[in-house]
């Protein structure tokens, strides 16, 4: 699609993710790459464990179908781009880059998302502590104020996308940023906490009432995972 933005940094990072080591600095992810191939990571909780904020049906479709499709497509297009490189076919490589960005981004985003959610019985919704708590208070005044700003950002996304709490790798400051479609958080910014604002993430439970989803999801946010990502 002509509107898809191609970012060199995104593609480099997505490609890097096919190596077994580099993708998850935080050390939270279960190993998701086998012999250079991306694989679907297991969830650390049951599909129904985030109810009533997110239904088991949504979680199952979202993980087993949507995320799996990103993984499969990413591997498929990674193979094609490797072939194109071997043949020194530059046109083909360029044509494949947006697909690598999209499907690789989808894989990275969802992997981080599952980790930054948790059932209330496993700490979901418990406020952040330490350095992250301090950074939030410094930048937003309070956790509630951050959530309000975050929900406004989510509601303002025009189409499919994500909102992220990110850390600027240059200044160390945290901020809220929105990303279109499956554009991943790479380059200058480090992902701390992401919320999926694609309609598939909430439609079966909330339909057009997306503001209710944005409100409810804070009850199952895993701030511990977010804390570990902050440097």
């Amino acid at each position: 699609m002509s509107s898809t933005l191609f970012r060199a940094t995104a593609v480099r990072s997505a490609l890097r993710a096919s190596a077994p080591t580099a993708a998850y600095r935080a050390g939270l992810a279960s190993p998701t790459f086998v012999r250079g191939k991306a694989t679907l990571p297991d969830l650390a909780y049951d599909y129904g464990a985030l109810e009533p904020a997110i239904s088991g049906k949504i979680m199952e479709l979202h993980h087993k179908n949507h995320h799996q499709t990103y993984v499969t497509s990413f591997n498929n297009f990674s193979e094609q781009i490797a072939e194109a490189k071997q043949k020194e076919d530059i046109q083909a490589q360029i044509a494949l880059q947006p697909l690598i960005n999209f499907h690789g981004g989808g894989h990275i985003n969802h992997t981080l998302f599952w980790e930054n959610l948790a059932p209330t019985s496993q700490g979901g919704g418990e406020p952040p502590k330490g350095q992250l708590s301090k950074a939030i208070n410094d930048s937003y005044g309070s956790l509630d104020a951050l959530k309000e700003k975050f929900n406004t950002a989510l509601a303002g996304i025009q189409g499919s996308g994500w909102a992220w709490l990110v850390q600027d790798t240059q200044t160390g400051n945290i901020s809220i940023k929105t990303y279109a479609n499956q554009d991943p958080v790479v380059g200058q910014f480090r992902p701390i906490l992401g919320i999926d604002a694609w309609e598939h993430a909430y439609y079966l439970d909330y339909q057009n009432r997306k503001a209710e989803y944005f409100k409810a999801i804070w009850n199952v946010v895993n701030w511990k995972a977010a804390e570990k990502r902050l440097k």
Partner: protein, 250 residues
């Protein structure tokens, strides 16, 4: 079909959640003093369940009475702010409102055209024989109807994120060409010399309750409810003809 009370309910729910930033900068809405036009939700040309089993009544009702209504309501609010910003020579506000207007106006334009380019599967309008001249040009462009559908399907399934696929008539000098165009989010087909013939909504809200992640099945099935009579009219007509539904909904 949808009166002022429906509009004000939708407006209230909009103000109370997703539109907070924007709304907080505004005075309460006073429609009597507005100098911008007020768009309204056009009624569907068929019942909510008329496209079953290909598109469920539940999807149609939410899609029309909630999603489309929200685009209309938000467009009116953005246009009102725009006219105030023009009035007060507030050029920075005017610029910052442009993307919001484009998004919600696009949503209103796209959905208004979409409802009209669908028809119940049992209707003769849903047969491609209702569009003899258009089909002739489709055949001369893609070889046959099947190849055209394959090309359209590939374009729709290639969208990354929310968007639309359109069959568009493009006037190139004296010639009229057909082309398949995909657009992101709610970007409308409004280029010079472009006439949208029919569009297919590829936002997840258009199919998810029925097809879940099986969007290929949605794309297959929607061919059963394309309104070829409307398509032929748009193909033979002008841009202004295609967009007359929008004038009617002011």
């Amino acid at each position: 079909m949808r009166g002022a009370s429906r509009l004000s309910i939708a407006l209230f729910s909009l103000l109370s959640n997703s539109f907070e930033v924007f709304a907080s900068e505004q005075q309460p809405f006073e429609f009597g003093e507005m100098s911008a036009p007020i768009y309204t939700l056009p009624p569907l040309p068929y019942a909510y369940d008329a496209l079953e089993p290909h598109i469920s009544a539940q999807i149609m009702e939410l899609h029309h009475s909630k999603h489309h209504q929200t685009y209309v309501t938000s467009l009116n609010a953005a246009l009102k702010s725009q006219s105030e910003a023009v009035h007060t020579s507030d050029i920075t506000s005017q610029v910052s409102l442009q993307q919001l207007i484009k998004f919600h106006a696009g949503g209103h334009i796209n959905h208004s055209l979409f409802w009209q380019n669908l028809a119940p599967a049992s209707s003769t309008d849903a047969e491609s024989s209702a569009a003899p001249k258009l089909v002739k040009q489709i055949k001369s462009t893609w070889g046959n109807e099947e190849k055209f559908r394959e090309a359209f399907k590939a374009a729709l399934l290639g969208l990354q994120g929310s968007g639309w696929g359109w069959l568009v008539k493009v006037e190139v000098g004296q010639e009229q060409r057909l082309t398949i165009v995909t657009t992101k989010d709610q970007d409308p087909i409004v280029g010079k010399g472009e006439v949208p013939i029919f569009g297919i909504d590829m936002w997840e809200h258009a199919y998810y309750l029925q097809y879940l992640n099986g969007k290929a099945a949605y794309v297959e099935n929607i061919w059963n409810v394309i309104n070829w009579k409307t398509a032929e009219e748009r193909f033979l007509g002008t841009r202004a003809d295609a967009f007359k539904i929008l004038k009617a909904s002011i």
